[in-house]
């Protein structure tokens, strides 16, 4: 049932809202991928990473280097994507190794700094030799092509024409399903329990024989790997990348998704990614609405977008800190005050046992 719906989704959306929304749908899936990756770091292991988009950037740039006219390399996607994921994973470890003994909020700032450093380098490494083509970015990146069929062009199957956006939808859907399975299996494994323990109480986790440093590094590396994978897919899909796509605000956007949806909970994270990708697109209609009612665009909806995100972040933390679809853990964690009181009461009155 769900499978049929997912398979038919681009046709439904394409027919109902137009093909530009199928493209939005593709981006929804990319952000779901990103959010699921960041969720491993933030939601499972409780490490606040504000530079997550750097791993996305690494995946994207590696794809562009290995599959575009820039260096004249045109390696197939099944080689480049894993390489990008691996490169991002390695960088995750490199960044994590020296910084993970820091307290959570310090870690957030260091990762933020790391993200900015990566972006500054991407922006400036067009000289002395042209590695990234600087602010102009790199284009003509090869589309994914499977068995000689390029996803960059429409494909005719049994009399039905499938535009490129539809083809990428199925590729991204496959990647997303894969990542969901991986994330779920990890969550309910020895490793996932170690992450949860770490998030709950680092000292107690260490006292249970968990090598907290390694387990944190693992979370960092796994999250980065997913980010790198999503970055490669993004580069192939878009055909063009520039440092502008990898700003701090993208990191914060992905963070917003998991905060809004419910940290640590896969359906919540997916919901958050869907909402925060679709809402800004829908906000474009506010511009039309203003033109229709006021005769001009008073407030650019693009300007409103970030403002609304800011308000959403604050409001969620104040009023529904566990997210729209909270995981069992987070729900309790954020109502920890009540929990403690409850516990004390229990200890006062519990005399039977």
């Amino acid at each position: 049932m769900l499978a049929v719906l997912l398979a038919a989704l681009p046709f439904l959306i394409g027919a109902g809202l137009g093909n530009s929304w199928v493209r939005v749908l593709d981006f929804v899936l990319l952000y779901v991928l990103l959010a699921l990756g960041l969720n491993i770091v933030v939601g499972y292991a409780g490490l606040l990473d504000l530079g997550y988009i750097a791993f996305y950037a690494l995946g994207a740039y590696l794809y562009a280097w290995l599959a575009s006219p820039h260096f004249g390399l045109h390696l197939p996607f099944w080689m480049v994507l894993p390489l990008g994921a691996a490169l991002a994973g390695v960088f995750g470890v490199l960044l994590g190794a020296p910084t993970l003994r820091l307290r959570g909020d310090y870690l957030a700032i260091v990762t933020l700094g790391f993200g900015e450093i990566i972006r500054i380098f991407m922006n400036n490494l067009n000289a002395p030799f042209n590695l990234t083509n600087g602010p102009q970015g790199m284009n003509l990146i090869d589309p994914v092509s499977i068995g000689g069929v390029s996803l960059g062009k429409s494909l005719e199957v049994a009399g039905i024409t499938l535009p490129s956006t539809y083809l990428y939808y199925y590729l991204f859907l496959a990647a997303t399903l894969l990542v969901i399975v991986v994330a779920m299996r990890l969550q309910h494994s020895r490793v996932g329990r170690a992450w949860a323990a770490l998030r709950e109480d680092e000292i107690a986790a260490a006292a249970m024989g968990i090598n907290t440093r390694n387990v944190k590094l693992l979370a960092f590396a796994m999250g980065a790997t997913f980010g790198g994978l999503a970055g490669g897919l993004f580069a192939a899909f878009q055909g063009f990348i520039s440092p502008e796509s990898f700003t701090l605000w993208e990191s914060i956007l992905v963070l917003c998704m998991i905060v809004l949806g419910g940290m640590g909970n896969i359906p919540g994270v997916i919901l958050g990614a869907v909402l925060l990708t679709v809402i800004p697109e829908a906000l474009r209609y506010i511009g039309d609405l203003q033109r229709a009612t006021l005769g001009q665009v008073v407030v650019d909806p693009a300007d409103l977008r970030m403002l609304l995100f800011g308000v959403a972040l604050v409001a969620m933390m104040l009023f529904r800190p566990a997210g729209l679809l909270p995981s069992r853990q987070r729900k309790r964690e954020f109502s920890a005050q009540d929990g403690v009181a409850e516990q004390e009461q229990a200890s006062l009155y519990d005399t039977k046992a």
């Binding site: 310090y106 700032i109 700094g113 450093i117 000289a127 002395p128 604050v314 005050q337």
Partner: protein
């Protein structure tokens, strides 16, 4: 012209601005262990408000003496920032004081985004230029140039820091702040109104940030809704470099970071054989931040703050 001396002067001037902003981070962190992410944006709002006032005054009578106009702008910007910081703390941070650590950090990021985008709606996406109304004298020392403005920035910074120092060391409020930083519970038992002390901490930090905001926009001749972000990050790095929570550390860290940046940008081309240019200036703050956190997380003057039980 002596490039080294010149960069050193530029670095000290910029560094004294970083130091002022860093004070706000370090004071709040000292008391709440919160990285007040929005502090950089408060600085930006200070600059913007002052520029608006300056614009209005000059529009009304273009012949007013420049220095007076800027001071008038400053005198409006300071209370505006104080009110803003008071509101931010009350609405966005206070309700989360007992929440898990990530929660107030996330709201702080949210507040930062809100301020930036409100500023963008109010003041536009364009750079707002700082009118050339300040005295523009220039002096020569040790083969380098120093302007009246640079001297004024350093002097005003030093005065602000001295004022803060006196406030923290010599007044009742300062004693209450120090007590609260040591232990909120104990301070409360001793009759300190902790909520009020926290409010004052935010307010004082914001007042200093407003001064810094006006200085930085006067120095670069412009202000921008996005300026608070980088300034805030660098100031935070400076606070960490000096030892977060430590007021003298913030001052030292700010000055040092300014100098590191200026010398780094001046010499990076030579150091890397022309591979990296001065547009990597912004990287230095982050490198310093990462290196300090990795090798000496307590900063130069601070106590140990790396993860503890």
């Amino acid at each position: 012209m002596d490039i080294f001396t010149q960069q050193l002067i530029n670095g000290l001037v910029l560094g004294s601005i970083y130091a002022l902003v860093a004070l706000g981070y370090t004071m709040v962190y000292g008391i709440l262990e919160l990285i007040n992410f929005a502090h950089g944006e408060v600085t930006m709002i200070g600059a913007m408000v002052a520029l608006s006032v300056i614009g209005v005054l000059l529009g009304a009578s273009p012949d007013l003496p420049g220095l007076m106009v800027v001071i008038a702008g400053l005198l409006v910007a300071i209370p505006a920032c104080m009110a803003l910081a008071f509101g931010i703390e009350k609405i966005a941070y206070r309700p989360l004081r007992k929440a898990p650590r990530l929660a107030p950090l996330i709201t702080a990021i949210g507040v930062s985004i809100i301020l930036q985008n409100v500023a963008m709606l109010v003041w536009g996406r364009q750079y707002v230029s700082f009118p050339a109304i300040l005295p523009r004298g220039q002096h020569e020392i040790l083969g380098a140039h120093i302007t009246d403005l640079q001297i004024a920035i350093v002097v005003l910074s030093l005065l602000s820091m001295a004022g803060l120092w006196l406030l923290v060391e010599k007044t009742r409020l300062g004693r209450a702040m120090r007590a609260t930083a040591q232990s909120k519970e104990v301070a409360e038992l001793m009759g300190v109104n902790v909520d009020r002390v926290i409010s004052y901490t935010f307010i004082i930090g914001a007042a200093i940030a407003a001064i810094a905001g006006v200085m930085v926009s006067a120095y670069y001749g412009l202000a921008h809704y996005y300026m608070g972000f980088m300034l805030g990050l660098k100031a935070f790095s400076a606070a960490v470099l000096g030892g977060i929570g430590n007021i003298a550390g913030a001052m030292l860290g700010g000055l040092l970071l300014g100098v590191i940046e200026a010398l780094g940008a001046g010499y990076i081309g030579d150091l890397t054989g022309g591979f990296l240019g001065s547009h990597y200036q912004d990287v230095f703050a982050f490198l310093v931040l990462i290196l300090v956190l990795v090798f000496r997380p307590s900063g130069l003057l601070g106590e140990r703050v790396a993860s503890r039980a």
